[in-house]
């Protein structure tokens, strides 16, 4: 009777979570609908800040989708036993985040109903167009990868599928970084460093998401994550956070060093010439919250604990949003340098730092994408056997 009651309780909880996911996703869809009806005029975006908060959410989810697969890669491709039982969850989260990110990206289009045109009319010179193939290919490869893991007869193909997924996601995140890296027009972008930077960022963001979901699943199932595994994953997250901070530092140092970039570096790092919000977000959001705090929580001997790992993962995700906000919106807010050596002014904001304040529909659409990723994860966890079994095996053995 007890187990029956527990099953009923679990089923009820499942449907509550599904309903919550549906609600958040639905609100996001409603926000997108109102943007479709009224146009982007109801958002904070304008002709200076053309990519706003939805892009911050979308790019976070797409980059994290690539990084969350790291756990599976370390298990399947590099044969690390502790990671292997986590590969299915890693694959599922990758699919869910990718879907959430693409939903936001697609619904933020000026003409979302024309998204099929992106498949029927294809410009091979466009990095965006490459990404259309990279995203759909990623989803297909992960689906096959999950199949090879769940279908016993296909298990022997799991490693080749894992290798394919590993290579594909490197290319995918190179593509995401290159969306910006190939933009010659703006001071903030046009750097070959952006592709590897996004790959390293994806490692940290993806692992942070993985750790959060994993610990939540363990807590809901009344189980405890083995300490050795938690410690390993925590150390790995610390390595990724440090590597991300290093590459971001190099990116800003090159900007500080080049005379032609110094005005931009002064703006984005120190708030010179206009809105100081981006500098504050960079230092407090990315550096302190997203890098220093998680490193302390993960590495300081007196702080290390299961709670500290969760707090560190949350801080990394907070830092990720701060980084992307500064990178995407701050990068656009800095005025285009059309007349070097001149001060420019016009009725169209030439020479001025552009103002941007995200409005409700943007928040709701972005959060709706997170809701969709959450919903897919909840359903996937219920339908597929993605719960890591290593502690059970250890307990029985």
């Amino acid at each position: 009777m007890d187990s029956l009651a527990a099953a009923r309780h679990e089923t009820r909880n499942y449907w509550i979570l599904v309903a919550a996911g549906l609600l958040v996703t639905g609100i996001g869809l409603l926000a997108a609908h109102s943007m479709e009806v009224h146009g982007h005029a109801i958002t904070g975006m304008d002709n200076s800040i053309v990519w706003g908060l939805p892009h911050v959410f979308a790019i976070f989810m797409i980059v994290a989708a690539s990084g969350v697969l790291n756990v599976a890669s370390i298990g399947s491709v590099f044969g690390q036993a502790a990671y292997k039982p986590r590969a299915p969850l890693s694959g599922l989260l990758c699919l869910a985040l990718l879907a959430g990110g693409l939903m936001v990206l697609m619904l933020d289009l000026g003409r979302p109903e024309r998204v099929i045109v992106a498949a029927t009319h294809y410009n091979f010179r466009s990095v965006f167009a490459w990404n259309v193939i990279l995203y759909s290919g990623m989803a297909a490869i992960i689906a096959v990868y999950l199949w090879t893991m769940f279908e016993r007869r296909m298990n022997r193909w799991s490693k080749p599928a894992g290798i394919a997924a590993l290579i594909w996601r490197f290319v995918l995140t190179t593509g995401t970084g290159s969306i910006f890296g190939f933009l010659v027009a703006r001071q903030a972008y046009q750097s070959a460093l952006l592709a590897p930077l996004f790959i390293v960022l994806s490692f940290g963001w993806g692992l942070a998401v993985f750790l959060l979901v994993q610990s939540t699943m363990y807590a809901w199932n009344g189980r405890e994550l083995p300490e050795s595994i938690r410690a390993r994953l925590s150390r790995l997250l610390a390595v990724f956070v440090a590597a991300s901070a290093y590459l971001v530092a190099v990116y800003h140092l090159t900007n500080l060093y080049y005379a032609r970039q110094s005005e931009f570096a002064g703006f984005i790092l120190f708030g010179r010439g206009g809105d100081a919000l981006y500098a504050v977000l960079f230092w407090l959001g990315f550096v302190v919250l997203g890098s220093v705090l998680p490193l302390a929580l993960l590495l300081a001997p007196r702080l290390r604990s299961a709670r500290a790992t969760i707090a560190a993962a949350l801080a990394v995700i907070g830092g990720a949003f701060a980084f992307l906000y500064v990178f995407i919106i701050g990068g656009q807010a800095f005025p285009l340098e059309i007349f070097p050596g001149h001060a420019a002014s016009s009725a169209f904001g030439d020479g001025q730092v552009a103002r941007y304040a995200p409005r409700l529909p943007e928040w709701l659409l972005g959060i709706g994408g997170l809701g969709a990723a959450f919903l897919l994860t909840i359903v996937g966890v219920r339908v597929l056997d993605v719960m890591p079994h290593d502690d059970l095996a250890a307990g029985q053995g």
């Binding site: 002709n47 000026g110 167009a129 190939f182």
Partner: protein, 264 residues
């Protein structure tokens, strides 16, 4: 084999009434008529399109021998004068832009050299680059360059991703942020698409030899904007560019813009 009874019925089954055959014949005629009504305009449109694509200029498509461009003489451009901007807004039905979400295909920029304090006033619009970054980055190919050098947006395939606006070094493109009404027949525009200066392509395709901005500037007595064929050595624009020093905006990017500036 038994002979089929009149009316095409099967032996042993009820015979159709004569009015049923008449109805069938009528339906056949109606279907043929309907097909004609539906298909004929399409066939007519194909004929028109083919005639236009093979015909000569004007109305015969872009001429690859031509490179349309502008020369902006900033020494003649008056600070505070917005004749070119107003003419563009009227010509293309853009209204009077007041907010940062409103479309601006051309804008007046006041510049001041930081070291010397030297000032200049000049219009900035799509520079109709020979190597346009907006065309490179457009995922659907909606941003395209015509054979005569004019860079346009195909409003049927633009999905409104705004990547071209990220890529343009001149802030020359606008996104339509709101539903539009009262568009002009010559200037297709719509919510959710990106747009920019078309170099008055509708005028050029009618065989006219000037843009609204250049015409207004000339009429206002400034003559600061010269429109013409950069490939024709005898054109006024080519002659002037040979004679006076001109610069391209963001020449370091080597996009080979079709708009040249004198006096900056």
């Amino acid at each position: 084999m038994s002979a089929r009874p009149p009316g095409g019925g099967t032996p042993g089954k009820p015979q159709p009434a004569p009015e049923s055959a008449a109805r069938r014949a009528w339906l056949g005629v109606a279907a043929a008529g309907l097909a004609g009504v539906v298909l004929a305009p399409g066939i007519r449109l194909i004929e028109v399109a083919q005639a236009q694509s093979t015909g000569g200029s004007p109305g015969g498509g872009a001429d690859p021998k031509v490179r349309w461009g502008l020369l902006i003489d900033t020494t003649r451009c008056a600070s505070g004068c917005t004749e070119c901007v107003d003419a563009c807004n009227r010509e293309n039905g853009l209204g009077t832009p007041s907010r940062s979400t409103d479309a601006r295909w051309i804008r007046k920029v006041e510049i001041k050299e930081i070291r010397t304090g030297r000032t200049a006033s000049l219009p900035v619009m799509c520079q109709h680059c020979a190597s346009p970054p907006c065309v490179d980055v457009c995922p659907t190919g909606a941003s395209f360059k015509r054979a005569d050098g004019i860079v346009l947006v195909d409003r049927h395939t633009c999905i409104g991703c705004r990547y071209c606006m990220m890529a343009c070094p001149y802030k020359a493109r606008s996104f339509v942020h709101e539903p539009l009404t009262g568009q002009l027949p010559d200037v297709p525009r719509g919510k959710g698409c990106v747009e920019s200066c078309t170099l008055c392509v509708h005028r050029i395709d009618r065989g006219e030899k000037t843009t609204a901005c250049a015409q207004a500037c000339t009429q206002a007595g400034h003559g600061a904007i010269v429109f013409g064929d950069l490939n024709d050595p005898a054109s006024e624009i080519s002659r002037r560019i040979r004679e006076i020093q001109t610069t391209q905006l963001r020449a370091d990017l080597r996009l080979d813009p079709g708009v040249r500036y004198h006096g900056i």
